[in-house]
Subunit: 114 residues, 2 copies
């Protein structure tokens, strides 16, 4: 639990963002892995534009961070967000989204540019 609880309206805003299947999936994925946009496009079977627009909302709210590496922009969960603890609590109730990610890995389709 955070030392200071965010105001209820701020919490409602976070829940609203998570109340979309695509965004909840994205947040679930980035909780454990850095992912780039093209991976979300693969995993979620959505258009690049649509994924980018969802990512922008998450970034604007501060729930995810981005980091450029060459061509790719990697997104990760922002554990500094005032509601990060709540989001983690929520994600414990969400089925593991890593299976498809591991499939990508097996297929050699994961991006890795360290």
């Amino acid at each position: 639990m955070e030392k200071i609880k965010p105001e209820i309206k701020d919490t409602a805003s976070v829940l609203k963002l998570l109340g979309d299947n695509t965004r909840l999936s994205i947040v679930s994925l980035v909780q454990n892995h850095e992912c780039c946009v093209c991976e979300f496009v693969e995993l979620l079977e959505m258009s690049q534009s649509s994924v980018s627009q969802h990512l922008r909302k998450l970034r604007d709210a501060g729930l995810v961070k981005e980091k450029r590496k060459g061509h790719w922009i990697f997104y990760s969960f922002n554990r500094e967000h005032p509601s990060a603890g709540m989001v983690e609590d929520i994600l414990r109730h969400v089925p593991d989204q890593n299976e498809k990610l591991q499939q990508l890995e097996r297929d050699g389709l994961r991006i890795n540019c360290d």
Copy 2:
């Protein structure tokens, strides 16, 4: 944690419902108290119609139960809902909404028809 985690899209639906300040406040209130519609109207300073429409959404989703007592219909949290555990986890991150309820109590405005 529930034995079986709901599908991610069902979880997203619940979060979407909670992603509204009015509904999140209602769920926070009914977690600990049975409340009737007129109490929500007082506490949330919203129209009866609007409150009723939010309550209907919560009831349709099974998150709250209703029970008629004479004139009044009392709403309470449905702890049998597949996502009840998650909702309780979320509410731990929400500031206590009972203060205003206690004010109503002091003012003798709470409904009690047992």
